[in-house]
C-alpha cells in the first residue's frame, strides 16, 4: 500500500503533463501547419481533419508514455526522493528528456546517416538528466519558477484533452465501421 501511496495526485500530475503536452503536441502541430498547404492541394477539409485526428491520437499515446516516466520514478523511489517534489522534479525530467528527443529529431534527415550514436548515448544522457533533476531541484528560485510555469501551462490541457478524446473517437470509428 505504501507503494501506491506514492502515486501522484491529479494536482501533481497535471502541471507535469502540461509540459509534455506543450512540447509533444506543439512539435507535431508545427509540422502539421507546414503540411497543410500541400495537403490542401489535394485533400478535402474532412480528410485534413482525419489526418489531424490521427496526429492527436499519436500525440496522446506519446504523452501518456512520457508521463509514465516520472510516475514510475515516484512509485519506485523513496517518497522524499521524488514523490514529495513530484512537480518540480517531474517538470525537470520531462523537459530535459524532451530536449534530448528534440536534439535527436534535429539530427534526423534523409541527407545524412542515421544518428545511431545519439541513441547509443541515451542511457548515459538519461543518467546525467536524472542527476541534474536532483541537483537542479535544490535551487529554490528555479523550483519556484518551474512550478509557476507548469501551473500556467495547465490551461492547455483544457484544449488538448477534449480534442484528443474526440480524435481517438474519430480514429476508432473509422477503424471499426
Amino acid at each position: 500500500m505504501r507503494f501506491l501511496s506514492r502515486f501522484p495526485s491529479l494536482k501533481q500530475l497535471a502541471p507535469v503533463y502540461s509540459v509534455i503536452v506543450i512540447v509533444v503536441y506543439g512539435f507535431s502541430m508545427i509540422r502539421f501547419f507546414w503540411r497543410v498547404p500541400s495537403l490542401a492541394n489535394y485533400s478535402t477539409i474532412g480528410q485534413i481533419g482525419v489526418v489531424f485526428s490521427y496526429m492527436l491520437t499519436v500525440n496522446l499515446i506519446e504523452s501518456l508514455i512520457l508521463i509514465s516516466a516520472p510516475i514510475l520514478l515516484s512509485l519506485f523511489l523513496p517518497s522524499r526522493c521524488f514523490f514529495e517534489q513530484f512537480v518540480v522534479k517531474g517538470v525537470l525530467l520531462v523537459s530535459m528528456g524532451l530536449g534530448y528527443a528534440y536534439y535527436i529529431a534535429g539530427h534526423i534527415n534523409t541527407e545524412e546517416p542515421f544518428p545511431y550514436e545519439l541513441f547509443r548515448l541515451s542511457p548515459v544522457v538519461l543518467a546525467v538528466i536524472l542527476l541534474l533533476v536532483f541537483l537542479l531541484a535544490r535551487i529554490k528560485f528555479l523550483k519556484r519558477f518551474l512550478e509557476w510555469l507548469a501551473e500556467q501551462l495547465q490551461v492547455f490541457l483544457l484544449l488538448s484533452i477534449p480534442l484528443s478524446l474526440v480524435a481517438v473517437v474519430v480514429v476508432l470509428l473509422r477503424n471499426i465501421f
Binding site: S38, A101, N175
Partner: protein
C-alpha cells in the same frame, strides 16, 4: 432458340473484333465464347514500377535486359508506342486503374489520390463481384491510389507481403488504410523527411535502421532492394516466390493487380547481374543538358543507367521463373497476363530520375505486353496507345460494362483498331493544386508519329517542343520552329484539350 444476354453479346463483340484483326486470337475467342459466363478469363496485371520501355531489349534496347520478356512476347501482343498517363506513380497508376487522364482523375500531387466522384469507377469495381479481386500495391505511392478502392477489393495484400522488413503502420488499420497511410506513414512517422512525431517517430527510425543494418544481404552486392522513401526491404526471390504460389491458389475467375516496386530506384541488382553490363562496349547517345534538368554529368548518367539496366535484368530473370511456373500451372491457358509499368525513368539530358518536368520518351514510354488466354503467337501494334486504354479493354474482354467516365479506347488487337491519328496525353503537374486549372505543368501529346511537349508555368513564357518519333526516336531535333504548320495544328489541339480539362476548375 436461346436468347443472347447483353453480357454474352458484349463478349461476342469483344472477342470477335480481335479475331478479325488477328486470326491467332481466334482460338481463344472460339473457346471462350463456347464456355459461357462461368468460364470468364482471369486477368493478371503485372506492373513493374518505373520500368521504361526504352531500356528493354524486348523493345529493341541494345543491352539484353529482358530476354525472358522476349520469350513472353512470343505469345503476346506487344504495344510499341504505349504511354503512361503521368510521369510518376500517383498519376500513372490512377490512369491505369480509372481509365482517365490525370487532369480528369486529379491524381496529380505526391501522396494524392483520385477525386471522390471517380473512386467508385475504379477497375476493381468495374470487374464486379463475379471476380475475386486482389491488389498487391508493393509501391507505397501506388498504395495511395489503390487503398482508395479497398471497398471493391476482396484481398488487399499489404506492401510488406513477401518482404524482409516492414515498419509501416497503415497495415494495422485495414479499414482505414488510405487515411492511416497519409496520416501515419506519410506524416507522423514519415521516412522521406523529419517525422512529425517527436518521440515515437525517431524511435521507429532507430529500430528500422537497426533492423535493416542486420539484414542479410547475401546475393545482393549493393544491398537488398528496398523502397526509397518508406521502410520496406525485400528480395526479388521471395517477392516472386510469393507471387508464384499466390496465383494458382486464387478462386476463379480472378483479377489481380500486382504493382511491384522494382525496378524503381534504388537499383539493387542481384549477384548474377551486378556489373553484368560493365565494359559491354555499349554507350548511349550523349544528349544536350536540358535547362529544367538537375545537370548530372554524362559519367553519372551512364553509370546510373547501367545499374538500372542490371536491376531490370535481375527482375527479368525472376519474371522468367514466374512465367515458367505459371506455364506449368496452366495459368496462361485461361488468363490475360499483362506486363506494363506506371511510368519510365530517364538517364539523359542531365536528368537521372522520373520525377522531373521533362516528358521525353524514357520517362513516359512504357511497356505493354498482353498475352491472351491460349495465345501462341506474337503480334505487334505500333499505333499510339495509353495506360487509360487498359481498363476499357479489359472490361470489354471480360464482358463487363465499361465505366462511362473512361477516356481510353479499346486497345488494337483486343477489340480496337490501330488509329495512328489518335491523340494520347501524358500529364505532369505535381506542383499544381489538384482542384485548380493547370498553370504549372508539362503535357506531352502523342499523335501519329509526332510528339508535342508543352511546358507551362516554369518560366516567364510557356514553351513547346515538337519531335517526329519516326525520324528522330531519340527526340534530338526540335521541329517546333521548323514545322510551323504541324506545330500550330498540334498546339491548338493540345491547348483545347487542356482548356476542356481545366474548365470545371476555372472560377
Amino acid at each position: 432458340m436461346s436468347k443472347i444476354s447483353r453480357r454474352s453479346f458484349l463478349k461476342l463483340v469483344g472477342a470477335a473484333a480481335p479475331a478479325v484483326l488477328f486470326p491467332a486470337v481466334t482460338s481463344w475467342a472460339e473457346k471462350n465464347l463456347n464456355q459461357g459466363d462461368s468460364s470468364k478469363p482471369n486477368v493478371i496485371i503485372l506492373l513493374l514500377d518505373a520500368m521504361s520501355a526504352t531500356n528493354l531489349s524486348v523493345y529493341g534496347y541494345p543491352r539484353p535486359t529482358t530476354t525472358n520478356l522476349e520469350r513472353f512476347a512470343d505469345h503476346a501482343t506487344v504495344y510499341h508506342s504505349h504511354y503512361s498517363g503521368g510521369n510518376y506513380t500517383i498519376p500513372g497508376t490512377a490512369s491505369l486503374l480509372t481509365g482517365t487522364y490525370p487532369w480528369t482523375s486529379r491524381a496529380l500531387n505526391y501522396s494524392a489520390g483520385v477525386k471522390a466522384d471517380l473512386i467508385g469507377d475504379n477497375i476493381f469495381g468495374a470487374f464486379g463481384e463475379d471476380y475475386h479481386r486482389l491488389a498487391f500495391p508493393q509501391s507505397m505511392m501506388a498504395n495511395f491510389v489503390v487503398s482508395q478502392f479497398q471497398d471493391d477489393i476482396n484481398t488487399f495484400l499489404p506492401a510488406d507481403a513477401f518482404g524482409k522488413l516492414n515498419f509501416l503502420l497503415n497495415d494495422y488499420f485495414p479499414k482505414d488504410r488510405n487515411m492511416a497511410l497519409r496520416a501515419l506513414d506519410d506524416f507522423m512517422f514519415q521516412m522521406q523527411a523529419k517525422p512529425a512525431s517527436l518521440v515515437l517517430g525517431p524511435l521507429q527510425w532507430s529500430l528500422y535502421y537497426r533492423d535493416s543494418a542486420r539484414l542479410a544481404t547475401k546475393g545482393y552486392p549493393m544491398g537488398l532492394p528496398h523502397n526509397s522513401t518508406y521502410p520496406i526491404y525485400f528480395n526479388l526471390e521471395d517477392l516472386f516466390g510469393g507471387i508464384t504460389s499466390l496465383i494458382p491458389a486464387l478462386p476463379q475467375p480472378f483479377f489481380t493487380y500486382l504493382h511491384l516496386y522494382p525496378p524503381h530506384a534504388p537499383y539493387r541488382a542481384s549477384e548474377r547481374f551486378d556489373s553484368k553490363f560493365v565494359g559491354d562496349g555499349w554507350w548511349p547517345n550523349a544528349k544536350p543538358v536540358h535547362r529544367f534538368s538537375d545537370g548530372f554529368s554524362e559519367t553519372k548518367l551512364t553509370s546510373t543507367r547501367r545499374r538500372y539496366d542490371e536491376y531490370i535484368a535481375s527482375l527479368d530473370w525472376e519474371i522468367g521463373k514466374l512465367f515458367d511456373a505459371w506455364e506449368a500451372e496452366g495459368v496462361f491457358e485461361n488468363s490475360y497476363v499483362i506486363v506494363t509499368s506506371d511510368h519510365g525513368e530517364m538517364f539523359e539530358r542531365g536528368e537521372a530520375r522520373h520525377t522531373t518536368a521533362l516528358l521525353y520518351d524514357p520517362v513516359v514510354h512504357i511497356p505493354l505486353l498482353i498475352s491472351a488466354p491460349g495465345q501462341k503467337i506474337r503480334h505487334d501494334v505500333h499505333a499510339p496507345t495509353n495506360a487509360v486504354d487498359v481498363l476499357p479493354t479489359l472490361m470489354q474482354l471480360t464482358g463487363n460494362s465499361i465505366p462511362t467516365q473512361t477516356e481510353g479506347k479499346l486497345l488494337p488487337g483486343l477489340g480496337g483498331v490501330e488509329d495512328f491519328e489518335r491523340s494520347t496525353f501524358t500529364v505532369e503537374a505535381k506542383r499544381n493544386p489538384a482542384y485548380a486549372p493547370l498553370t504549372k505543368a508539362t503535357v506531352a501529346m502523342r499523335k501519329g508519329t509526332y510528339k508535342l511537349i508543352y511546358y507551362t508555368g516554369y518560366e516567364a513564357q510557356d514553351s513547346f517542343e515538337l519531335y517526329d518519333l519516326a525520324e528522330d526516336g531519340e527526340e534530338l531535333r526540335d521541329l517546333y520552329p521548323e514545322a510551323p504548320e504541324i506545330a500550330k495544328k498540334l498546339r491548338e489541339e493540345l491547348l483545347e484539350t487542356l482548356l476542356a480539362a481545366d474548365t470545371p476548375y476555372i472560377k
